[in-house]
Amino acid sequence: MSGTAPTHGHSRTLFWAAAALSVLMFLPMAWVLVLSVTENEALSRGTEAAFSGPYTLKNYTDIAGNSGVFRWFANSLVVAVGQTIGVLILASLAGYAFGRLEWPGRRLVFVIVLFGLAVPEQAVIIPRHQIFSTLNLHNTYIALILPGLSLPFGVFLMTQFFRAIPPEIDEAAALDNASRWRIFWKVLLPLTLPAQATLGIFTFLFAWNDYWWPLISATDKDMYTLTVGIASSQVNFAQTEGLGFLAAQAVFAALPVLIVYIIFQKHVVTAVSGGAVK
């Protein structure tokens, strides 16, 4: 392939330009990272201290002493994991029904679900807030998890995957006397594992990063997710516990997703592109 590479519109100049510009991606992150290990007191006299020190890990150990951040972290974990499991279950079942089975009204219902992809959050968030108010469910995990389960993306993705499995596999299973449930559970579901991974990572990141819904649903400080919690400590930015501590919180909150991202990077990237090109 190397022989044809230059003709494929790929240019070294462009690559090095992109590599140089990546400093702009790094720089803000690096700045926060440096601030997070600089002594708070020195920073309070001026952020130039980030270049000279003294450096310390105290900002991070302070997080350990701040029960709020840990509580928020745990909340985020519960919400993100709960939503991921819920979406995987619902989307797999629905994907099988839409992609593999025939029932009256299937096409129409699927089209309606697809239309749901086009509904922006702001068009439903006020009524949702009222529904959960009426049910007295605000400031519960259920309220934080449930709305994410209604998104059609996972159903769409799983339907595509179920459709892509050769029909002979079902036919062989039908000749093997397998029931619908057994075909789903023993034969087809294992074949969708790559899709499950993709959808799982997506849902986890999405749930972890969600901001608006937890902002209005979780008003009790103990029910904040990490996103909302970090936002709340930014409110009086200048006079908080200190820039270093704030920066350390940012790094602490960013780490889980960055780790997930680094581990599953290939998956995330192929998932994004694969899902869209089809």
Partner: protein, 291 residues
């Protein structure tokens, strides 16, 4: 009549039922309920009767709403082309099977996985007056300081910078995927036809990824119209509402002023604007390219 094993059976719908319940309860019902609310006099605690188009009239008569519309449209009109252009540039630059390119793709996509809170925190550390990275840089260069987050014009610009930094991963990946779909022999044919690099780009590459570019632009239009967290956290719409987007206006109306009816009416208007913008953009690009 279908074969026994794929006969149409109502019981097959049971597999879809769990999702459909959630879908109807938390998406379909709220969507319809929202339209209903927008025609009601309502606050967070209850409904006080049908008011017809009053809420819409109040929203459309509100100068702050029009300011938010203007802000949002300007924001979308600037960030979307920038995002598409950067995505295209990165796609072309990083479309190679080298470790370096893979690493750079990872770097450019990394910001996308961060939450809006982290992104705004990072950029506040850059923009804050006196202590921010830019402040220090300006000081070092001897330039007069700029209050990026508190000056009219600069505040929306700063929100835009953070947004582009946050969102450029998705356009890049989508465009990369499209570039990788182009069969290599097209380029070989172009090379045999003595096409210059520029002609190859305009006559082979661009037409091949046209649909993806349209898709990317549509996605970004829909996403950027919903600008909320960055503006709320970085500038809180200020100064004087000059960086307040429509969603922040809705948030204020419904969840700070508790005027749920007005918030719902503004939501429906924004929904309408997004639909029109996305479809209009799609229509224009499709038509323009066919002609």
């Amino acid at each position: 009549m279908a074969a026994p094993h794929r006969q149409s059976r109502p019981s097959n719908a049971l597999f879809a039922a769990p999702y459909l319940v959630v879908f109807v309860a938390l998406l379909v019902v709220p969507l319809c309920w929202g339209v209903y609310l927008s025609l009601q006099k309502a606050d967070l605690f209850g409904l006080y009767g049908y008011t017809g188009w009053t809420n819409y009239a109040r929203v459309l008569g509100d100068a702050l709403f029009w300011q938010a519309v203007r802000n949002t449209v300007v924001f979308v009109a600037v960030t979307v082309p920038v995002l598409v252009a950067i995505g295209l540039f990165l796609g072309l630059a990083l479309n190679a099977r080298t470790r370096g390119a893979a690493f750079m793709r990872g770097v450019y996509f990394s910001s996308t996985v961060l939450s809006v809170t982290i992104v705004t925190l990072i950029w506040r550390f850059v923009f804050i007056p006196g202590d921010g990275l830019l402040s220090l840089a300006f000081e070092a260069m001897g330039w007069p300081p700029i209050g990026f987050l508190s000056t009219q014009g600069w505040s929306l610009f700063s929100v835009g910078v953070a947004t582009v930094w946050w969102c450029l991963g998705l356009p890049m990946i989508l465009i990369l995927a499209a570039l990788q779909q182009i069969p290599g022999d097209l380029y070989e044919a172009a090379a045999l036809d003595n096409a210059s690099r520029w002609r190859t780009f305009t006559r082979v590459t661009l037409p091949q990824i046209r649909n993806t570019l349209i898709l990317v632009a549509t996605i970004q239009i829909v996403m950027q119209f919903q600008l909320f967290g960055q503006a709320q956290l970085m500038t809180n719409g200020g100064p004087n509402g000059t960086s307040r987007p429509m969603v922040l206006y809705i948030y204020r109306a419904a969840f700070e002023n508790w005027d749920v009816g007005q918030g719902a009416a503004a939501s429906e208007l924004l929904f309408l604007i997004i639909l029109v913008a996305a479809m209009g953009q799609f229509w224009i690009t499709n038509r323009g390219n066919k002609a």
